[in-house]
């Protein structure tokens, strides 16, 4: 059995890294908002989904105009990423302004319910816009970066099978890495990043120190949503087909990743995302094998939630988080 698991390990790692990178960036959005407002922004998964649709729509339009054929693919990608992230960034800011800000002093239960509402609203808006335009809400974008690259992992260790990946894997991974490094730099090295950390620590005191709290919170939503939207584009390119309901489960898993890494902790979210992606791919490749066919790959979602529950039970502060005590 071990040998069989090892055979597929290189491929599992590659697929897991691609998925994990996507979880990681979406997890960033959850963790940033949670860090600053202590709110689980359920709508964040939907921002990701909206990003996937906006990106695909732009690509389809560009293809229709014939630009894609003449433009270098990388340039087109960059263009799409920038437009999409700016748009989803503003959507995120708008949601905060309309739905969350008026409730900042309300019981948390109410804000959570609003977040669910926003999430459902976005799903259906995207559904009917797509359905009106295309007649079907399941969308397949133009294929890009689909050439397969073979990796001769068998030459490293003979038990490994060879693995392969699409070119888009490299795109996903590199773009994700660039976004994460930039964000990390932004938060730790810039004036606005410092303001964000200050507001997360103590909102009232930051306000007294002259930080414009509302602006900072808006910025957090913009950044988180922009990253989420861009990730949606990456997802669409990597996996091809999207529908308005991809955001919910993916968002849930990204949230799991954020909790795994320690909620509120930026680097923790990145690590948690990658870890969860690899674990999930590993589970879906090997569950059947390891349980003698009792559980199959269809249980991979259950597996992710089980991780969430276990982490919350035994290490609720996550891998990199700090234990927080409620002040009495």
């Amino acid at each position: 059995m071990l040998a069989e698991i090892l055979h597929t390990l290189p491929q599992v790692l590659i697929d897991g890294l691609a998925l994990g990178a996507i979880y990681a960036i979406v997890a960033l959005g959850y963790t940033m908002v949670y860090g600053i407002l202590e709110l689980i922004n359920f709508a964040h998964g939907e921002i990701f989904m909206t990003g996937a649709f906006i990106g695909t729509a732009i690509l389809i339009t560009l293809t229709g105009l014939g630009w894609i054929a003449v433009m270098p693919a990388l340039l087109a990608l960059l263009l799409v990423l920038v437009i999409t992230s700016v748009l989803t960034g503003f959507i995120g800011m708008g949601i905060e302004r309309i739905a969350y800000r008026p409730l900042r002093k309300a019981p948390k239960l109410i804000t959570l319910i609003t977040a669910i509402g926003v999430s459902f609203l976005l799903q259906d808006l995207v559904r009917f816009i797509t359905e009106v335009k295309r007649g079907n809400y399941i969308l397949t974008g133009p294929s890009m970066f689909t050439d397969r690259v073979e990796v001769k992992t068998s030459s490293v260790l003979s038990v490994f099978n060879d693995a392969s990946f699409k070119e888009s894997f490299i795109i996903v991974f590199v773009v994700a890495a660039i976004m994460m490094i930039t964000l990390d730099f932004f938060i730790n090295k810039t004036k606005w990043g410092t303001a964000m950390r200050a507001v997360a620590q103590d909102r009232d005191t930051s306000a007294l120190m002259g930080v414009n709290v509302n602006k900072v919170i808006g910025l957090v939503f913009f950044l988180g949503s922009a990253l989420g939207g861009a990730t949606g584009v990456l997802f669409a390119i990597q996996y091809g087909t999207i529908d308005p309901y991809i955001g919910f489960i993916l968002g849930l898993k990204a949230f799991t990743a954020a909790v795994l890494g320690g909620i509120g902790n930026i680097r923790g979210a990145m690590f948690g995302g990658i870890l969860l992606g690899v674990l999930e791919m590993f589970a879906s490749a090997n569950l059947t094998l390891m349980t003698n066919g009792v559980f199959g790959a269809e249980y991979k979602d259950v597996f992710a939630f089980a991780i969430l529950i276990l982490v919350l039970l035994f290490k609720p502060e996550g891998i990199f988080g700090k234990v927080v005590m409620e002040k009495v």
Binding site: E38, L39, I40, A99, P102, L103, A106, P107, K108, L109, I110, T111, L112, I113, T114, I116, G117, V118, S119, F120, L121, L122, Q123, D124, L125, R127, F128, E131, V132, Y137, F248, I249, L252, F255, T256, V259, G293, V294, G296, E298, Y299, D301, V302, F305, A306, L308, I309, L312, L313, P316, E326, V328
Partner: protein, 444 residues
């Protein structure tokens, strides 16, 4: 002109305080709507207006027993009788049954969300547990993993299974609660959401290694209930089952709300640290809320399965959980009359209004009056509508349509107490002293 307005006002004021006038007005209203439903046979509007009489009833100043009497008259006799004349009889009774089922579920969720303040986003899982509990034993399915007994069980067992379904759902509530209720409040929402999905995925795949749920195929030909040789197959019959369970549910919820358990729930909701230092066992209190809420849902799951004679995992999606949440928020969290109203509105909206509206719009499109793309048909807009209701109510009316009310106590009555007046002073002193003999702590 002003004179007339004043006159009108004095009339409305009179009606506000006059029970007799209210009774007569309500009686007339019920009579008119009953008659119009009776005569028209198929009129959604008459049907809805007759149901609305219960809402009017709620706002009258009539005595409690009178209100219950009138409600019973409308629901048991007038509604079924007047609807029975038309060919839409069964579809009205179907709506009535579903309203009953959803109201009971919403009342269950109201205990968890409204009273105990715990956001449960996977509530439909307990409904599924109840439905499957009955379905597995009321179809040949159970024979796959039980070596004794003959399956399907007969329809007489249905009545026991209402209790069993509630009980099994309560156990699931506790099993979920034990790990989950130790974590911080806001994580609860996401964990219960995950749990709801887990249950659905498990039911969807539990056709192997042992075939328990028959997987995505679902379970069909579920045995209908039987009582004294009478087999229940029509919605008009299930209507009464749902009604009886609903009345019991309302009774129990009312009792619990104004008891030490209900107060403990509210205390935990308002401030868990203070609640604990008042001697309230936090986890146990939350678990009780989870278990009782789940059991309502489980019982109605059994009824649902028997009514549909078919269950599969698609009936138990996240959308269902959110629908029940919308019912609670719309009506008023923590408010029993509010939640009943919210659940009734949402069920009727889902079952009747959206489909009727869709049909009407389709008709218009067919006649080329307007053209509405299929994507926008109201029946497909559920998520949009639910989402909008959640946001709008959370923002502008978080207390819901009929806000929860605190009980009003009569100071004079409490002052005189149940003890004779002369002893009052003495009793006060004795009872305030600690360790007075009447307090035996059985909980610990």
């Amino acid at each position: 002109m002003k004179k007339y307005i004043d006159l009108m006002k004095s009339y409305t004021d009179k009606v506000k305080d006059n029970k007799l006038a209210q009774g007569i007005l309500l009686g007339t209203y019920i009579l008119v709507t009953t008659l119009s439903l009776y005569l028209s046979g198929k009129s959604v509007i008459a049907f809805l207006l007759l149901l609305a009489s219960l809402l009017l009833l709620h706002f009258t100043k009539l005595g409690r027993n009178t209100k219950w009497g009138i409600a019973a008259l409308v629901l048991v006799v007038l509604l079924p009788l007047s609807a029975s004349q038309g060919d839409a009889y069964q579809s009205y009774m179907e709506v009535g049954t579903l309203v009953g089922i959803y109201v009971a579920m919403a009342l269950g969720l109201n205990i968890v969300v409204g009273l105990a303040g715990l956001l449960d986003l996977g509530f439909v899982a307990f409904f599924a547990v109840g439905a499957y509990t009955y379905s597995i034993f009321a179809t040949p399915q159970a024979a796959n993993f039980l070596s004794f007994g003959t399956f399907p069980l007969g329809g007489e067992y249905f009545w026991v299974f209402i209790l069993i379904g509630g009980f099994v759902a309560a156990i699931f509530g506790i099993l979920l609660g034990i790990p989950v209720l130790r974590v911080k409040g806001d994580y609860l929402a996401i964990v219960t959401l995950g749990f709801g999905e887990i249950i659905r995925i498990v039911f969807n795949n539990l056709d192997r290694p042992i075939n328990i749920t028959n997987g995505a195929m679902g379970l069909s030909s579920i045995t209908p209930p039987k009582l004294f040789g009478l087999t229940f197959t029509f919605p008009s019959q299930f209507y009464y089952i749902a009604l009886v369970i609903l009345v019991l549910t309302i009774f129990v919820v009312r009792r619990l709300e104004y008891s030490k358990i209900g107060r403990a729930w509210k205390a935990v909701r308002e401030n868990d640290i203070a609640a604990q230092s008042m001697g309230i066992h936090l986890v146990r209190t939350k678990l009780t809320a989870f278990a009782i809420g789940a059991s309502f849902s489980g019982m109605m799951g059994v009824v649902f399965a028997a009514k549909q004679t078919f269950v599969d995992p698609t009936s138990f999606t996240l959308l269902e959980s959110i629908t029940i949440l919308v019912m609670v928020l719309l009506g008023g969290m923590g408010s029993v009359p509010g939640v009943i109203l919210g659940a009734a509105i949402m069920t009727i909206l889902n079952m009747q209004v959206l489909t009727e509206l869709t049909n009407w719009l389709n008709q218009l499109s067919l006649n080329n009056v307007i053209s509405i793309p299929d994507a926008l048909s109201p029946a497909k807009m559920q998520r949009f509508i639910f989402g909008a209701i959640l946001i709008l109510f959370a923002l502008y009316r978080p207390q819901g349509l009929i806000p929860a009310k605190n009980p009003i106590f009569n100071a004079a009555k409490l002052k005189n107490g149940s003890t004779p007046k002369g002893q009052e002073k003495q009793k006060q002193e004795v009872s305030l002293k600690k360790e007075s003999a009447s307090y035996v702590n059985l909980d610990s």
